[in-house]
Symmetry: C2
Subunit: 479 residues, 2 copies
């Protein structure tokens, strides 16, 4: 039997790493800062992908694929962009046995190479909007890495669109932010907060950056997806122009938006507990695990026969499941699947056979309270209902936790208290960029975003005391 999991209250970082490896989500790789995403972790990502891809297509986007390599000169064309990404680049200098004349950068993001393509593909207003997305790997040479949260190479999608006007680009930027929020809330059961990033925190080269921010189990924030209105910055750097209806040449307005395998880390930290992972049913590789309970070989074969029948029924109803027929004790299996966060466990033993029933145990409510006995002929409906309950309860728990940790602040002292209490501070902010940086230095908290919802007409800045000219902001320590 393996050792007990480190408690998240004791050492959250250690708890996180233990879950990643012990729940078999990922493995270490021989390349600095890169992980191997194992099947159980990759399937969570496949769930996120499928949900987003469907939503992208519903909002009129098409997938395409652009090269991994970007000529070094391209990155230099947008001044802020190159400054933002230069320190993190991996560069191919030798290929086919020869030194390259122009080194190739492994894409850290693709605004530049896609901007160049857009400039060739877009001629007139008829070509707009151009709405593309790409599923890809990107590389950023990070100094400190953590599985899923920050890795040198990571998987993501990056949307890139071009529009005729500022307002259309802004609408698109917010539409895709909403798509991210919908996936996070409906599928990952994470109650993210949509909002505008501050100037200090916005994307290198963007006019405005919006984010969804999620609260993790230790009260820190995790930026889980970003959507950028790039204004005409990249259009000017890459000469993306179109003929408007009056036959005049104008620069386009572009957007980009990305969400990555970091989201798998968000799922772990938003829902995990002392016992291990807790996966929302909509993203769980296995929604149900079937565990046979028996003492004799004769019992074993009777129990397994029924379990195979129930598994077939559930599979036919679209339930993702696993029948665990390993030669281990039920207790070992219970622990194992609780660690791996399977939403519902179905147990069946000789006594249940007699009663034509099964035991359903939900992962979100451990112990007796989370168990129910249901007749075998009603299992499909019962599981269907229970999965919906677990999905809703995980969201409710995470929402309650988040709300209990967000503190309204009217002074810098109150902000400090909120942060020290491992919470988020919410308050009216009219400070300068330098003020914002000072808070980060002094407290470790950053301005996560200006939430889109709940903005008052007016207010008094908790830091500068200024009235008006500001917005309600969220401050928190962040990953």
């Amino acid at each position: 039997m393996s050792q007990k999991l480190t408690s998240p209250n004791e050492d959250y970082a250690k708890w996180y790493n233990e879950i990643v490896y012990r729940a078999d989500l990922a493995a270490q790789s021989p390349v600095r800062g890169c992980i191997i995403i194992k099947p159980y972790g990759y399937e969570i990502w496949e769930g996120i992908k499928a949900s987003l891809d469907r939503r992208f297509k519903e909002t009129g986007h098409q997938n395409a694929y652009f090269p991994l390599f970007i000529p070094q000169s391209y990155l230099k064309r947008e001044a802020e962009h190159v400054e933002g990404f230069s320190p993190e680049l991996a560069v191919v200098t030798v290929a086919g046995g020869k030194e390259l004349e122009e080194p190739l950068v492994v894409r850290p993001t693709s605004e530049t190479v896609i901007g160049e393509a857009f400039s060739q593909w877009i001629q007139s207003w008829r070509d707009l909007p151009l709405l593309l997305n790409q599923w890809a790997n990107v590389v950023r040479w990070e100094l400190r890495t953590r599985p899923f949260l920050r890795t040198t190479e990571f998987l993501w999608q990056e949307g890139h669109t071009a529009h005729a006007t500022h307002d259309e680009a802004e609408e698109e930027t917010l539409r895709m932010l909403d798509v991210y929020a919908a996936m996070a809330i409906e599928d990952a059961a994470i109650p993210v907060i949509r909002g505008l990033k501050s100037n200090v925190e916005r994307f290198a080269g963007a006019l405005r950056t919006y984010s969804i921010e999620a609260m993790m189990g230790d009260g820190k924030a995790l930026q889980s997806g970003t959507s950028h209105n790039l204004g005409q910055n990249f259009a000017k750097a890459f000469d993306i122009k179109y003929l408007n209806k009056a036959n005049e040449l104008e620069y386009c307005w572009t957007t980009s938006w990305g969400l990555s395998t970091r989201m798998v880390g968000a799922v772990i930290m938003a829902h995990g507990d002392e016992v291990g992972l807790r996966l929302p049913p909509k993203l769980a590789p296995y929604q149900v695990v079937l565990v046979p309970v028996y003492k004799t070989e004769e019992e074993r074969s009777r129990v397994l026969e029924v379990l195979h029948r129930l598994a077939a029924q559930l599979k036919a109803a679209g339930v993702r499941l696993h029948l665990d027929d390993r030669e281990e004790t039920p207790g070992f299996k219970f622990n194992d699947w609780e660690m791996r966060g399977v939403p519902v466990r179905l147990e069946l033993g000789p006594k249940d056979l007699e009663k034509n029933s099964v035991v359903l145990a939900r992962r979100d409510i451990l112990g007796k309270e989370g168990k129910r006995f249901v007749p075998q002929d009603g299992v499909v409906q019962a599981i269907h209902d229970l999965l919906a309950e677990v999905q809703a309860n995980l969201l409710a728990q995470a929402t309650q936790f988040r709300d209990s940790r967000i503190h309204d602040v009217n002074s810098y002292d109150q902000l400090k208290q909120a942060i020290e209490a491992s919470g988020w501070a919410r308050g009216y902010w009219a400070g300068s960029d330098d003020d914002e940086r000072r808070i980060k230095e002094e407290t470790g908290a950053t301005l996560r975003n200006f939430p889109l919802e709940g903005q008052p007409e007016d207010g008094v800045c908790f830091y500068t005391g200024k009235r008006g000219g500001g917005r309600v902001a969220l401050f928190a320590k962040a990953y």
Copy 2:
């Protein structure tokens, strides 16, 4: 109106390139040898992916993701492997602003990094078989590149498995070859020939390589997927061992198998004609295009109203379609969608409105012969049937073409004639590796494979005159 497409009989290579760009499958990129896969081309790949992914999962495989970068030293551990791939490597030497101590190779394939992982994950016979697949990009620095067929970076899947015995590995190798063949035949409508590669042509580091070979419209062969029994070569190089049931340590037997975006090129060249692309319905981004025919605005609105209704019905029935309401002539649109290979065109004009019918025109049979009038209330069923007919007919046409171009040969002269006639030569082969190389030098033809089917008990080598000790082989010029 754009210029007429170059005839494939006149200049096949030019015809191919024109289709790629004019049907909007891909665009040139600023990076040498890399293309941009545009939405219309990417959707074909998505269709191939979905088909394979389903088949991989049905045969018990799980997806995972391994790092893009491979430490240079890893590639050197398997002697043949490093020799095979060294000339084609792209190497990252600088990252995060510093020279790397050990350069990182951008993966040309992942046997090495996955072999290292397997050596850590596999302990006992209980861990076998280990059946993984990864969807990824890979880079091979090719000197001569062509869109889809051979690009510096390409997308593919690579399966990697480990087994307890040679026979299980061989079974897996052939099972996945069959999966490739099933996808090619059933979905891409390409009658590929499964067979064993010669020693000269096998994968660097493999015991045995199998391939599916497709005949293109110019009579050349395209290797469209390969499956390798790696024997214990990589197991020994990476120390992949397991404890057998007798508690003895043994090396595993591993396999790998890959299919890439090259398959999109196969679809183009197996089915394309004078007019453009012809897409098999199962892989076509749009299976049906709806084209309104009208003269007046009043007609336009009446026609479009019905088309929108029919489009909704077809969509609900799962048909992928596009309603082309551009302000262009029907003739322009007919040409455009014929070029882009949409399997079925649905036309509707004022006369059809009167008769409550529509015109269905199939892409695989142009002109009057391929047209039929069907009542509007039977459109869903008619389209469903017609798509199945087109799918079957494309496979039948390609099979007939292939068979008409395969010539049985009993002498080297006959081989030369077959190759000169832009065909394949099939004959009993017992020559040496050097003989095989000589034929390549003298005729340009390579030994494509030894087909799995139709092998005789015995024979006389058409080249050496030797009796027995050989097998029937296919020779052809190849991409």
